[in-house]
C-alpha cells in the first residue's frame, strides 16, 4: 500500500525539488511524447522504487548519488517498462533526445544499465501497481464521482 501513497503524491506534478519527482516528470512527459500507456509510467516508477530501495541499506546511500545516475536509472527503467508493456516502444536514441534531459547517454550504456536493473529486480517485471487498481475503479460507476483527479488522465 506504500506504493499507492507514493503515487498519489508524486505522479501528479508536485514540488519538483526532490530528484525523484523530476524523474517522474520525465517519465510523464515521455509518455505523452511517445504515446505510451499510463501503465508504463507506473511500472517504470515501480522498477525505480524497487531498485533504489534495494540499494538504500548500503552505506553510501542514494543521498550521495549524482543527478545523472538517477537520470540514467530512470531512462533504463522507463525503457524496460515501455518494452514490457507497450506494443511500439520508443528507440533508445529517441528517449535520449528529449530536450529536458541534462545528459545524454550512449545506447550501450543504457543497455548495460537496463541489464543491471533487470538483474537487480530478478527479472520480475509483471507487478501490481496502483494503475492496476485504477483501471478497476474507474470502470465502477458508483466510484467514479469520487475520483475527480483521475478523470484527467482517463484515456486508457
Amino acid at each position: 500500500m506504500d506504493h499507492i501513497n507514493l503515487f498519489c503524491d508524486e505522479v501528479w506534478p508536485s514540488s519538483p525539488t526532490a530528484s525523484r519527482n523530476d524523474d517522474e516528470d520525465d517519465n510523464i512527459s515521455c509518455r505523452s511524447r511517445f504515446n505510451l500507456s499510463f501503465g508504463t509510467v507506473f511500472h517504470a516508477t515501480n522498477y525505480l522504487d524497487r531498485f533504489i530501495s534495494m540499494n538504500q541499506n548500503s552505506i553510501n546511500n542514494i543521498t550521495e548519488w549524482k543527478y545523472w545516475m538517477i537520470e540514467l536509472l530512470s531512462i533504463a527503467c522507463f525503457s524496460i517498462a515501455s518494452k514490457f508493456i507497450d506494443t511500439n516502444p520508443p528507440m533508445l536514441h529517441q528517449i535520449n533526445q528529449m530536450e529536458d534531459m541534462e545528459h545524454s547517454f550512449e545506447a550501450s550504456a543504457i543497455q548495460r544499465m537496463e541489464l543491471k536493473v533487470l538483474e537487480t529486480l530478478d527479472w520480475r517485471l509483471a507487478c501490481t501497481t496502483a494503475h492496476s487498481y485504477l483501471q478497476l475503479f474507474i470502470h465502477q460507476p458508483p466510484l467514479q464521482q469520487h475520483i475527480i483527479i483521475i478523470r484527467k488522465i482517463n484515456h486508457f
Binding site: H3, M54, W68, E102, A109, M113, W123, R124, S132
Partner: protein
C-alpha cells in the same frame, strides 16, 4: 559466482539450437541438479548474424538501438513466475561478463519425448501411458494459457519424460515436463496459421502442436511430413476454405500452390485408438484456430475420464487461483518487491552498469563515473568486513 565454477558440463549435447550451436546439459555442483542451458543474445550485431529460422522470425523486425530486446524482457519475466509441476523451472539466470548474452538454465530431467519413444518403442505406445502423458502435457499448456501466455514452441524436444524405467511399471507415475529450449526440430510442430503467416496468432497455436504430439504418440512416428509440412497437414485435415478458416487469413493467394484435399477420417490413419481419443485429436488438430479446443476444455474431455482423480497435478484453475490470491491484478502476477539480491549485490551491479556511461562533456563524466565506482567499491569492502 562464475558460471564455470558453479556448473560442470556433461559430455553429451542434447541437440542443436536454432543458432546452430549445440545445447549441452550441465550439472550443478552444489545441488546435483541437471540443467539445460539456453542462451539469449543481447548484442544486435550478433543477433543479425544469426540465421533466421523457425520461431526466431520475429528477430528480423528487431531494429537496432533498442537496448535489450523487448522479447527477451518479456520471455524471461514470464519464466520467472511460472510455477507448475509440468513446467521445467528456471534454475539459473545469469549473464556473461561482457553482457553479450543471458544464460538461462532450465531444469532437465529424464530424456526428451523423441528419445523416449525411440528407446521404449513398445512401452511408449501403451494407451494408458499416452493418456497420462497427454493429460500432463495439456495441464502444463493450460497453465501457460492461464497466465495469458502461450508457449509457442511445443515440440517433442521440449517435452521431457522422466521417472520411467524397468522397475517402474506404473504408467501413472511417469512424469512429463514442458521446457523451452530452441532446438532444431523436423518437422515443425507449428499450427497452420503460423505456417500461413497469419498475423493473428493466439494461444490456439499450442493446442495444434499438442495435437501433433498426441498423434505422434499414437502412431509412433510424426504425423506430418518433414518436407512439405503445410501440404501434409492439408492432406490429412483437408484444404481450408473461406468457410472453414473464416477471418483468420486471406487464403486465396497462399493456397494456390496446394492441391485440394477433403478431410480424411482420422480413425483410418490412427487405427485402434479409442473413439474418445480420436475425438480429442480431431478437436486439437482443428484447422481453424478459433474453433480449436482450449486447453482447459481439453482437460475435461471424456478421453481423460478416470485419470483426474489419480493424478495429483494441480488443475490450472487452482494454480491460477493461487496466483490471484498472491498478488495478481495485472496480466500475470509476480511479487512486487522480491529481495533475493542483497544490497551489496545491487550496489555492485550498479557500479558495473554505469561504468560505461558517457556524460555530456566526456572527460568530466568519466571522472565522475570513476569516482562513483570507487565510492561503491569502498562501500562494498566495508559492508563485507
Amino acid at each position: 559466482m562464475d558460471f564455470r565454477d558453479k556448473f560442470k558440463q556433461l559430455d553429451l549435447g542434447i541437440g542443436t539450437s536454432l543458432s546452430r550451436r549445440p545445447i549441452f546439459k550441465y550439472l550443478d555442483k552444489e545441488t546435483g541438479k541437471t540443467i539445460a542451458l539456453k542462451r539469449i543474445i543481447l548484442r544486435h550485431e550478433l543477433l543479425q548474424a544469426l540465421p533466421l529460422t523457425g520461431s526466431s522470425n520475429s528477430r528480423q523486425e528487431q531494429p537496432i538501438d533498442v537496448g535489450i530486446p523487448a522479447n527477451t524482457i518479456r520471455q524471461i519475466s514470464l519464466y520467472r513466475i511460472l510455477d507448475h509441476p509440468n513446467i521445467a523451472s528456471l534454475e539459473y539466470l545469469g549473464n556473461d561478463p561482457g553482457d553479450h548474452f543471458v544464460r538461462l538454465g532450465f531444469e532437465y530431467v529424464g530424456v526428451d519425448l523423441r528419445k523416449f519413444q525411440k528407446d521404449n518403442a513398445i512401452r511408449s505406445r501403451h494407451p494408458k501411458l499416452i493418456k497420462s502423458l497427454m493429460y500432463q502435457l495439456l495441464s502444463g499448456i493450460a497453465y501457460y494459457h492461464s497466465v495469458n501466455a502461450s508457449h509457442g514452441n511445443i515440440n517433442p524436444t521440449n517435452v521431457l519424460i522422466s521417472n520411467y524405467g524397468d522397475d517402474n511399471n506404473d504408467d501413472e507415475q511417469v512424469n512429463l515436463l514442458i521446457t523451452n529450449l530452441d532446438l532444431c526440430v523436423q518437422p515443425s510442430y507449428q499450427a497452420p496459421e503460423i505456417l500461413l503467416e497469419s498475423n493473428r496468432l493466439s494461444t490456439a497455436v499450442d493446442m495444434f502442436s499438442a495435437g501433433c504430439i498426441f498423434g505422434e504418440m499414437l502412431i509412433g512416428k510424426p504425423v506430418f511430413d518433414t518436407e512439405n509440412e503445410l501440404g501434409s497437414i492439408f492432406k490429412l485435415l483437408g484444404t481450408p476454405t473461406k468457410q472453414t478458416m473464416r477471418g483468420v487469413i486471406d487464403l486465396d493467394e497462399k493456397l494456390k500452390k496446394y492441391q485440394k484435399h477433403s478431410p480424411k477420417d482420422l480413425s483410418e490413419t490412427f487405427i485402434g485408438v479409442e473413439p474418445a481419443g480420436i475425438d480429442l485429436l480431431s478437436k486439437l488438430l482443428c484447422l481453424n484456430p478459433k474453433e480449436r479446443i482450449m486447453a482447459s476444455e481439453a482437460l475435461k474431455h471424456r478421453y481423460f475420464y478416470g485419470i483426474e482423480a489419480k493424478k495429483r497435478v494441480p488443475t490450472p484453475a487452482a494454480a491460477a487461483a493461487a496466483e490471484v490470491g498472491n498478488s495478481s491484478v495485472g496480466p500475470f502476477a509476480a511479487e512486487v518487491g522480491s529481495s533475493s539480491a542483497g544490497p551489496s549485490a545491487a550496489m555492485d551491479s550498479l557500479a558495473a552498469g554505469t561504468s560505461a556511461v558517457v556524460g555530456s562533456p566526456a572527460a568530466s563524466a568519466s571522472v565522475l563515473v570513476e569516482s562513483w565506482i570507487d565510492m561503491v567499491s569502498a562501500a562494498l569492502d566495508s559492508s563485507e568486513n
